[in-house]
């Protein structure tokens, strides 16, 4: 879900970049000293996740992991994701340097939304609520990312509904996989290192 270089017009790029810059600033402020290694680990997870392709469906899709990153990091997802996206753009030629701001916003805003919606639910004692929130977090992260991607492509002359439909359908397998992945990760962390869920 990387928008390539030369697709978007300058106003869209600048809007995305400035929105991301503001959010990154806020995210950096929110990170405390103990959380830095956690941000780095999740940033590298995001960096590598794009190499794991999901061979289902007609299009080429890969894991994104923005839902779980959001639940674990909150606003710190913005700095984590821009670092990973920058390295993906430089090393793998995924996306592009100029579209970095828009891509960061498309991936990290759903992460923050997932944090506000599901972070309390994930910590809930009732295991049904906890598992449900974790799955929904993983699922919704990718879903909202697809919607934002379609929104940023509106001004290129493509129809919003068409792109949104295509992107959401292409990413349905990813959404389900990430939902399940998030459930496993969260339940594992809850058993092994429950304090991680309290930091963000």
């Amino acid at each position: 879900m990387h928008i390539s270089e030369g697709v978007l017009s300058a106003p869209v790029l600048i809007t995305g970049a400035s929105l991301s810059a503001a959010a990154i600033g806020y995210g950096l402020k929110k990170i405390n000293y103990d959380q830095i290694p956690q941000v780095a680990i999740l940033s590298s997870a995001f960096f590598v996740a794009s190499l794991i392709h999901v061979p289902i469906g007609p299009s080429s899709v890969h894991l994104i992991l923005n839902g779980i990153i959001g639940i674990l990091l909150g606003w710190a997802a913005f700095p984590a994701i821009i670092v990973a996206l920058t390295l993906q753009a430089i090393l793998f030629q995924f996306g592009g340097i100029t579209s970095l701001g828009v891509n960061t916003f498309n991936m990290a805003l759903p992460a923050v939304i997932c944090f506000y919606l599901f972070s309390p639910g994930v910590k809930h004692r009732n295991s049904v609520i906890a598992v449900g929130s974790a799955f929904a977090g993983g699922f919704l992260g990718v879903f909202l990312g697809s919607i934002l991607l379609a929104t940023s492509l509106i001004f290129t002359g493509e129809s919003f509904m068409e792109v949104a439909k295509l992107t959401v359908i292409a990413h349905l397998p990813v959404m389900v996989i990430e939902g399940i992945l998030t459930v496993f990760c969260i339940s594992f962390l809850k058993k092994v290192k429950p304090e991680i869920l309290e930091i963000a």
């Binding site: 928008i3 270089e5 978007l8 000293y33 290694p37 090393l91």
Partner: protein, 217 residues
């Protein structure tokens, strides 16, 4: 006094090193970054294109736009199920192909003008039937020899040359595609590990600066 100055100098060196490595890194990145890959080759008077995602999946039903050197759009087409699209060479100048795949993916491919002229010789030849053969016979070959040859074998050297070129194009096409594919950068383990290393290096630098700050405080 000495102790105070040392960290400040150290900071500056650190900062300089990071800035320099970043600048070198970014400036070495090719301008056209992409995740979809577009290939094209000229065979006869037709340009064949192939487009796929970096994991090898074909781009189906994606738009391909063809521009000439003056950025004038010549034609637009859609790829088929195998990610292929072909068109007749419309213009003698160099061509620039732009692939617009789904979900904001884009790739470019240029065909320089020197790959096209041969094609146009052929087209001109074909388009003028009953061309004055005698004129095309090179001076070294006598008319007698040209006439006495059976019809199936082209008498003049130029025809033989054209036929050979056509055959060579045909035979070399798979090799050319493979060659161009192999030039495309593939992701190596080194880059993946390097990227993770960069992130952790960055973490180390940030922790170092925060530690310095708290020490001073």
């Amino acid at each position: 006094m000495k102790n105070n100055k040392k960290p400040a100098l150290f900071h500056r060196i650190w900062f300089g090193l990071i800035a320099a490595s970043l600048i070198i890194f970014i400036s070495s990145v090719p301008a056209s970054a992409h995740k979809v890959i577009l290939f094209a080759c000229v065979k006869g008077d037709t340009v064949f294109t192939e487009s796929y995602f970096s994991d090898g999946k074909r781009c189906q039903n994606s738009t391909i736009e063809v521009f000439d050197r003056n950025e004038k759009k010549l034609l637009t087409g859609k790829t088929n199920k195998n990610g292929e699209f072909s068109f007749k060479v419309p213009n003698k100048t160099g061509l620039r192909l732009v692939l617009k795949a789904a979900m904001g993916h884009r790739a470019e491919f240029s065909i320089p003008a020197n790959e096209l002229p041969n094609v146009f010789n052929k087209i001109n030849k074909k388009s003028s039937p009953g061309s004055n053969r005698r004129e095309t016979v090179p001076p070294g070959i006598s008319c007698k020899a040209a006439i006495s040859c059976p019809k199936a074998i082209p008498a003049d050297l130029k025809n033989i040359q054209l036929l050979m070129e056509e055959t060579l194009d045909k035979k070399l096409q798979p090799i050319m595609i493979e060659l161009k594919k192999s030039q495309e950068k593939k992701i190596s383990l080194g880059e993946v590990v390097g990227g993770i290393g960069y992130i952790f290096g960055l973490m180390g630098i940030i922790i170092y600066f925060i530690n310095q700050k708290t020490k001073k405080a």
